[in-house]
Symmetry: C2
Subunit: 190 residues, 2 copies
């Protein structure tokens, strides 16, 4: 969350703003850094290995999912990639226009669509994935193998906490009140 300002400086400024309100500073530092690290990694990878392949981070992840798991229903692809189904429609369209992926109707259920790799997609991924992993390794270069495992473990607990209890928590915060409708979104037809 914070850029080049020193941590101490930021902490002091926060204290000055909310000196009396009790805050969880440890959680603040941990979560803020999760976001900062994610952005830094994405930036680095997009501007190194993904740039030449003209792929975005999300495009790569979707491609990766289809590559690893093979032909798949699009809803499962979206879930694995961690994006909404609406987003997947657009990303899949982009990948399809680049000839890396093909969309096909589900053989027995007319509602579904399947996504699978083309030969060009296969070829690209077998070249790109090792390079991608090398940049992950570069990002983690200051961590030992054990520390990587530790980091992964701590983060998995954060993810699990939100997946297990997030929805209940959000409902609890609303306290029965109707959730504020999203500012954007499709308009009703009538």
């Amino acid at each position: 969350m914070t850029g080049p300002r020193s941590l101490a400086e930021t902490e002091k400024a926060v204290q000055a703003k909310l000196g009396d309100v009790p805050l969880r500073h440890d959680a603040m530092a941990a979560i803020a850094n999760v976001y900062r690290a994610a952005a830094a990694v994405r930036q680095h990878v997009e501007n190194s290995v993904l740039r030449e392949a003209e792929l975005t981070w999300t495009g790569f992840v979707v491609l990766w999912v289809v590559w690893i798991f093979g032909e798949m229903e699009t809803r499962h692809v979206a879930q694995e990639a961690g994006i909404s189904k609406g987003t997947l429609t657009g990303v899949a369209r982009t990948l399809e226009s680049r000839g890396l992926v093909v969309r096909a109707p589900h053989p027995s259920d007319g509602r579904m669509a399947m996504l699978s790799m083309t030969a060009a997609g296969e070829e690209l991924m077998s070249r790109l994935f090792p390079a991608f992993n090398a940049e992950e390794a570069f990002a983690a270069d200051r961590l030992s193998g054990a520390e990587c495992d530790q980091l992964a473990g701590l983060l998995r607990r954060v993810v699990a906490q939100l997946e297990d209890n997030g929805e209940a928590r959000r409902l609890e915060l609303l306290e029965g009140a109707a959730p504020t409708p999203r500012r954007s979104g499709r308009k009703r037809k009538d």
Copy 2:
């Protein structure tokens, strides 16, 4: 990166695809979880405390920066918030239209613009920030205080590695070759 599929299953599939290519599996797991955790936290916070305030994550971060550090040159706001200056222009416009922030010309340098809070912005943040922090604490609920500090420390090392060595690494990967120009971007005028 991976959703509900079991870790073991994913590992096995990766091995099957690239059995002979040596990969850093520990770094892969660590970095993938950084991204997953960041997305999960953002999702949760946007759908709880930020929803009612009609703020996006980025809008909140920008507001937070101006709130904490006071009137600021927009380039510094962008840097602190971790977004590009082009993005900041749009986000600041949104916040200004909501009456939370004001833009003013720099007193002595005509190129620059200053951003500062309105009274409404102050008021919103003093209410919103404690709630935001409470959700950070909720996300970190399965971590002890010491583990939060540990997590923050590990992530800071990842960020530092990319900040210190990222650019050199990207240049090295290019090997003198001209970087692929971005697909999008403003067209040349002539």
